[in-house]
């Protein structure tokens, strides 16, 4: 069960890293390009540590590369939020903020995990994420409180993404077991702190927190939106075409 939980933890940063990597050389400015790449590489580092650990736990000889490149989309356990398309810059930054605001609470709590490896990964990730959330929150405020056009785009992004935030806090038998063993916090317990941060940033960004519509769910169980398949096809094509290829 720990194997499955660690996969869930590792797949979200992996998918988000791949999304941001797709923006390299396409960001609006050179400075932003470098910044997005930095965030992407932080997330990739988190994913690598977690997937390597998952491979050890599974004990069937799969390493981080096997898990990243040779699983089908239904075997991915990432949150639906992170597989939503980059869209425009407003959607990219809002998706990042909604995830970062969740991740900062998660890593903070996981530092106290009864599992030493997870606690160590969390200790590194919490510093990286503290910077990510500062940046993405800053952009959300700038776009929301910026020009008519930037606000319009941010509102559109919120309409696209909000339905995927409910899944962040849904729990099932795996989460319950991890909480009982002191391995991980119960995701539902992270919601109040997440909501406080989101509301505070949204106030500055002149955004209203939408009514909670029926939340989309399923990512953690391997049921994904159509976007993940396309993303994986691009991410996995090289190792699948040339297995064992090296630089």
């Amino acid at each position: 069960m720990l194997f499955e939980y660690v996969l869930r933890l590792g797949d979200s940063p992996l998918v988000l890293a791949q999304q941001l990597g797709g923006l390299i050389a396409q960001a609006p400015t050179m400075e932003e390009d470098v910044a997005l790449a930095n965030v992407s590489l932080d997330l990739l580092g988190q994913a690598r540590a977690l997937l390597s650990f998952a491979g050890e736990l599974e004990g069937r000889g799969r390493d981080e590369n096997d898990l990243a490149y040779f699983r089908e989309s239904h075997a991915f356990h990432n949150l639906l939020l992170v597989e939503q398309p980059n869209g425009d810059f407003a959607q990219t930054q809002l998706r990042q903020f909604l995830y970062d605001a969740f991740a900062i609470e998660l890593w903070t709590q996981l530092q106290r995990s009864s599992d030493a490896t997870l606690a160590a990964v969390a200790g590194k990730a919490v510093k990286e994420t503290a910077y990510h959330v500062r940046r993405s929150a800053d952009w959300v405020i700038r776009l929301g409180d910026g020009t008519e056009e930037s606000a319009r785009r941010l509102h559109a992004a919120l309409a696209n993404l909000w339905m995927f935030t409910g899944e962040l806090f849904l729990t099932d038998a795996v989460d319950d077991a991890m909480a009982e063993q002191g391995v991980a916090p119960l995701a539902s317990r992270l919601e109040p702190a997440w909501r406080t941060r989101v509301e505070s940033v949204f106030t500055d960004a002149r955004l209203d927190v939408p009514e909670t519509a029926w939340p989309q769910r399923g990512g953690k169980l391997g049921r994904h939106t159509e976007h993940l398949g396309h993303l994986l096809a691009e991410m996995q094509v090289l190792p699948r075409t040339h297995p064992g290829a090296r630089w």
Partner: protein, 93 residues
Amino acid sequence: MNGSPLWEVFVRSRNGLAHSHVGSLHAPDATMALHNARDVYTRRGEGTSIWVVRSSDIHASNPDEKDALFEPALDKAFRQATYFELPDEVKNL
């Protein structure tokens, strides 16, 4: 951000005492200039502190006055520590 102002970036390195100029970048305000400076200029663990200054706030000496400003110092070798012979008795200076 192409229309946004230019900022000069100064980074204090791990062991350095003073902030040194490392380059410049564009940003609409100081907060974002600091964010961008962190991402562009400290990616390899270069720094422990960052300053950003609007380029337009820097007043520079005129290159045409280079001779008048700096040449008089060149023939005053006694202003260099190496000009003085160190007595043998002095171990550390």
